[in-house]
């Protein structure tokens, strides 16, 4: 793994560099005098390749906390805990090292085996800030002292305050370049890195645009100006030979300085709406731009005020005066208030208040704080349309004709409303007559958009009520608030019947649960029957669904039940199921177990045939093949497309994503266990797959929802988004009381993973090798051969690098590891904790650095070599609330005697084939009565001895309730033929 760091250099370059856990932790020999090469930093060229980033290789002399012999590793670097290292000697202090790195302005990438250090994460935060500045146009042109055209940040007051915070938060590692005896000052590094990022991003957005006009240029002054425009949009060097740019540079500097009144503290204007009479008041305050809750009223400022503002400004009173003087240019009434010696505010009548409210945006734009009453600009204070629908069908049984469908006629009525309350005719007349568009309705102030009111009234006069298809209503309800189809935004949806329930996201609770059809191989739990009813209902409507139940709640079985139900009495084209490679086998086996009537075809391998010739109910394929064969998938008719682990299409521009959306199908379902509602890019991509167009284009979605919600925590936008997506997303969490009561005390799952091609060929080689020797050996020798073969096969199933023991790359070579990563990703996303058992300590040691990088987290590892005191400390940390969430244990060291009840997931990476031992380990997390949400997963590779031995044990248990031979010894008693049967690799186990 790599731990990636960042340095800002004195000349404004942004340098990425990385420590490598695979490199020795020091140089051999005696500690050198003076700066030498960093022993475990990755050379720039190699770094560029591993990160997939372009840049310029360079070496920076950096001060790092070090022993005389080597720098200390950063906390993000995780080495294999089993690889022992001799203790370092000598005091830790800052020493210079020559660190190889990559000067780049590219975004910080994050491949799976790279973990970001605080400085790299900080760089990402700066980059986001720079993106924000450029996106808001808070940048201005400049000419550097070297005569280059450059875009510079032009921060507002709030931005400056944020910069001050960023400066305080800067990790020292970012400014570790040695200049003189010390690193660089934080302020210098912050501004030079931000400058570089802003210039880069501005140029990216300008793209091919040429700002300079064509044609002849004229005199020298014009030539310089022209060169600036060319330089801002193209090559930043302003012409060759160099033109005299000093005059223009200084004119630009003076000009930019006129934006410099934006400081960390600003005046803030707070409008108070009257409760009784009509006197409004604008209060003057000072406000910390980055912490808007720091508000000091003018009266306190004039008195010398509290010290809180002194953190930022020396003379708050002067600042307030200057700010008030400036604000008067925008709102001249403020000048009138300044005739007092110590003005504290401004009194306004309702018309004046309206004028202030409408110009408040200008104040805000000019960098002032503006606090308006909470009702202003909320949907609750706007006059909008309210939709009431009445549909005949009552929510109930989905199957059969029940009057629910897109084409069903439903009654609707439009009303004008404020918030949820419908306006009476008298109120509407009073509103229409209002002279100032600020009116009190039912005790609340309402901002009246008179054009909108008139348009709304006209709309209602023409079509107040009627009946139309449910599909039409659904389309209307999903319209964005500013859509030209409606004269005013929809502020409320209400009514009776299924359609209102659907639009309000209450459908799942209202539907009659649906039982799985006869012959289905499992009893569905009550919540699964509700989930099935919900999917079947949307299926009938032809609306796509996203089932986002927590992991372990049985999305697979619900989907299989839906397929069985749909195909019980009707012939249909096949359903295409797309899942990650590691899950193909699992789907195959689960389908065979629960829905044996479904004909399953796996589309994979180099010999995969034509899809239009496949006669099956369920066609399973992987995301990779989906992208590769997208034309083939598009050629035939599908009844349904299902995406399992749909977060795989979170990047809407990826090939997989585009391929998934391009497949023609009657119906679409996405399954995901991650909390989609918190990951908006993913939500868009998944919803656009399930219900194309529902959320508009990705750009509109970003502007309308993603940016307001993620960047600014805009509750209104979040509510609107929930209203649009709510009907189509069903997410139940395992901690929900109604779900818990349906769950058994402990959920145990066997999960089948596919081998990679590399694993399969290694596996085959081990098997061939054994079969060659087994007949010639006997007695102890034969027994040893069998046992060692089994161990080697289990190693291959775990990971090729474990079997080979060569310290080779970890990522992307094992189906089992892929499954583990997918599972842990959901565990971490849910804020859960997991115990991961393996019987191979060496495998655990390999996994520690990999998982630490993959999940950017600390990974605990308990093995036989850990002393008691450290073991106790690990247990205590894991049990504490904010401790690490992944605990790897070797089965021998961690199987007994520990209490690890903070975990609610137990994963057995490999099998001991001794239920007693496995259960004992499981019981670390599970104590009867302590918690009810423990999920146990036993990972096995499909078609290998792991699956076959498990099947044999299950069979024997079922037949004779025998205590079957536990462990592996009994395997040595098998005949060669039986042995061949157990270890041989079944066909169809490799997917890619």
């Amino acid at each position: 793994m790599l731990a990636l760091h960042c340095l800002g250099t004195a000349d404004g370059q942004v340098v990425l560099w990385a420590e490598d856990s695979a490199r020795p932790d020091r140089r051999p020999g005696k500690a050198a005098r003076g700066a030498v090469e960093h022993p475990f930093a990755v050379p720039g060229a190699e770094l560029a390749e591993r990160l997939g980033v372009e840049g310029t290789e360079l070496t920076v002399r950096a001060l790092l906390p070090s022993h005389p012999s080597a720098p200390l590793p950063s906390p993000e670097l995780v080495r294999d805990p089993l690889a022992t290292a001799a203790a370092q000697r000598g005091a830790v202090r800052l020493r210079p090292w020559l660190v190889g790195g990559l000067a780049t302005t590219a975004a910080v990438p994050e491949p799976d085996d790279v973990r970001l250090g605080a400085s790299a994460r900080y760089l990402a935060a700066l980059r986001e800030f720079a993106e924000d500045l450029v996106g808001r146009g808070r940048v201005l042109p400049a000419v550097t002292s070297s005569g280059h055209a450059r875009w510079r940040p032009a921060p507002t007051g709030a931005d400056s305050a944020r910069l001050a915070r960023l400066r305080e938060a800067m990790p020292p590692a970012l400014r570790a370049q040695q200049v003189g005896g010390d690193g660089l000052p934080a302020g210098t590094v912050l501004s030079s890195v931000l400058d570089t990022l802003v210039d880069t991003i501005a140029r990216q957005r300008i793209g091919d645009l040429d700002l300079a006009p064509g044609g002849l240029v004229g005199d020298q002054a014009a030539a310089v100006t022209h060169a600036l425009l060319s330089g801002l949009s193209g090559d930043p060097t302003m012409g060759t030979p160099a033109l005299p740019t000093e005059r223009l540079a200084s004119a630009l500097t003076t000009w930019r300085a006129s934006a410099a009144h934006d400081g960390p503290v600003r005046a803030c204007f707070r409008l108070h709406s009257p409760d009784g009479d009509e006197t409004w008041a604008v209060e003057f305050l000072l406000q910390a731009a980055d912490d808007p809750s720091v508000l000091v009223p003018a009266s306190e400022v004039w008195n010398g005020g509290p010290n809180v503002l002194r953190r930022w400004v020396a003379q708050p009173a002067d600042l307030l005066l200057a700010e008030l003087g400036r604000a008067g240019r925008i709102i001249p009434e403020i000048d009138d208030a300044l005739h007092d010696t110590h003005p504290t505010g401004l009194a306004l009548d309702t018309a004046g208040a309206h004028a202030f409210l409408t110009r408040a945006g200008e104040l805000d734009q000019a960098g002032f704080g503006v606090l308006l009453p909470s009702w202003w600009q909320t949907a609750a204070a706007e006059v909008g349309l309210k939709l009431t629908t009445t549909s005949p069908g009552t929510p109930g049984v989905v199957s059969g004709k029940s009057g629910m469908g897109r084409d069903e006629l439903v009654q609707y009525r439009w009303d004008m409303a404020v918030g949820e309350s419908t306006l009476t005719a008298a109120e509407l007349k009073a509103l229409a007559d209002a002279k100032v568009p600020l009116v009190r309705v039912r005790g609340r102030w309402v901002h009246l958009d008179q054009r909108r009111l008139a348009a709304g009234l006209e709309f209602i006069r023409r079509s107040a009520e009627g009946s139309t298809s449910a599909g039409n209503i659904m389309a209307l309800a999903a319209l964005p608030p500013d859509d030209p189809l409606l004269p005013a935004p929809v502020v409320g949806i209400d009514g009776d019947g299924w359609l209102a329930d659907l639009l309000n996201g209450r459908m799942e609770a209202r539907l009659e649960p649906v039982k799985a059809p006869a012959g289905f191989g499992a009893d569905l739990r009550p919540y699964q029957e509700r989930g099935l009813a919900w999917m079947a209902f949307l299926d009938r409507l032809g609306m796509g669904a996203c089932l986002a139940d927590d992991m372990g709640l049985g999305k697979t079985v619900q989907l299989l039940a839906l397929e069985a139900l749909a195909r019980a009495d009707a012939e249909r084209p096949p359903t295409l199921l797309v899942c990650p490679m590691s899950l193909v086998g699992n789907w195959q086996r689960e389908a065979a177990k629960f829905a044996p009537d479904l004909r399953v075809h796996v589309h994979h391998g180099s010999s995969r045939g034509r899809l239009d010739e496949v006669d099956a109910d369920l066609v399973i394929t992987t995301y990779n093949l989906l992208a590769r064969d997208s034309a083939r998938f598009a050629e035939r008719e599908w009844d349904r497309v299902v995406l399992d682990e749909a977060q795989n299409i979170k990047n809407s521009a990826s090939r997989q994503s585009r391929a998934a959306r391009s497949i023609p199908a009657r119906h679409r379902i996405a399954l995901t266990g991650t909390p989609v509602e918190n990951r908006l890019a993913e939500l868009w991509s998944i919803m656009d797959f399930a219900n194309p167009g529902l959320l508009g284009s990705v750009h509109r979605f970003r502007a309308r929802f993603a940016v307001p919600i993620e960047r600014y925590h805009d509750e209104d936008a979040a509510t609107r988004l929930r209203r649009v997506t709510g009907p189509f997303v069903l997410r139940r969490v395992k901690t929900d009381p109604t779900i818990i009561s349906d769950l058994p005390d402990k959920v145990e799952m066997k999960q089948l993973c596919n081998l990679t091609a590399e694993q399969a060929s290694l596996y085959q080689a081990v098997v061939d090798d054994m079969l060659l020797k087994v007949d010639e050996s006997e007695g102890v020798q034969r027994k040893g051969l069998v046992l060692s073969t089994i161990t080697r096969l289990k190693q291959v199933c775990n990971h090729p690098a474990q079997y080979l023991g060569d310290g080779s790359r970890i990522a992307g070579r094992s189906g089992k590891l892929a499954r583990l990563e997918e599972t842990l990703e959901e565990v971490i996303a849910d804020g859960d904790k997991a115990l991961v058992f393996t019987q191979f300590a060496a495998f655990g040691g390999m996994l520690v650095p990999h998982l630490a990088a993959r999940f950017d987290t600390e990974v605990l590892f308990l093995h036989g070599g850990v002393a008691k005191a450290r073991r106790d400390a690990m247990v205590e940390r894991f049990q504490s609330g904010d401790g690490p969430s992944i605990f790897l244990l070797s089965l021998k060291a961690g199987g007994t005697g520990l209490t690890l009840t903070a975990a609610n997931h137990v994963i057995h990476l490999d099998r001991w084939w001794n239920p007693a031992v496995e259960d004992q380990a499981t019981d670390r997390a599970f104590r009867i009565g302590q918690r009810r949400d423990v999920q146990v997963r036993k990972l096995m590779c499909i078609g290998t001895l792991e699956e076959k031995i498990d099947a044999m044990i299950e069979r024997k248990k079922a037949l004779a309730r025998l205590a079957v031979g536990t462990g592996e010894d009994w395997l040595t008693e098998l005949s060669t033929e039986e042995l061949r049967e157990v270890v041989s690799l079944s066909a169809e186990v490799v997917i890619e």
């Binding site: 004119a251 200057a322 008030l324 003087g325």
Partner: protein, 271 residues
Amino acid sequence: MSEDEWWRDAPTRTIKVENGLRARSTRGDIARTWWSRRFIEVLEELGLGGRLERGKRYARQGQVVSMSLSPSIVVATVQGSRPAPYRVKIGVKAFTADQWAQVEQALAGRALYLAKLLAGEMPTGIEEVFEGIGLRLFPNSFAEFSMECSCPDWEVPCKHLAATCYLLAESFDTDPFEILAWRGRSRQDLLDSLRARRGGPAVAPEPGPDPLPDDPAAFWAAGSVPPAPAPPAPGAPGAVLDRLDPLPVLLRGRPLTEYLRPAYRAFAEEA
């Protein structure tokens, strides 16, 4: 050879100045604000025509090598056609400490005056404040100034004086406190005095340097950065250009800022 003889024989070509003070305005009027106009108008009312125009050109070419303002006097050096620059002095009567005390008392009574000054504007009512105590802030006739230039031109004001006046007016544009300083009250003194009269607090200290920590935990760690603050209302692309003072740079008669606007439209479109 006397200075005059040398001057008469030599070609009267202006010597270019490399790093002179240049007027920021490149065409039209130089003084933009009402208070600097008030100063320049006195000069322009003299009807000097050509000499003023030449002075303006001098100011734009950067012929004024240096200029400094102190109570009651502005001293400048202006490069003409001779090797040594001419010395220019422009005097005005400073108010007495007693007069200033009265002015300050009046200014302190209304927040508006200081507010506008600190915001970079001369408050519109300020002339009345001075008139209230029998003073005139802006001289209303040329006679109230004393002007001297070391050039051989016997006309006053000569183009060197005119150039200095234009630059002075421009400095008034950007900082109205300069006019008050010329009249005998520096910005700092005025602010201190007004602060005292209005009841104000003392000054905070400067932050020190920040050496790299050698403690590994501190070295590698970042402090916490709070989430981004509340949403700014989305403005029109390029709104920042409208908030700034006008940029006196043109290309083919159009302001430079107009050529920049397409870039701001591109910025607003997220990648």
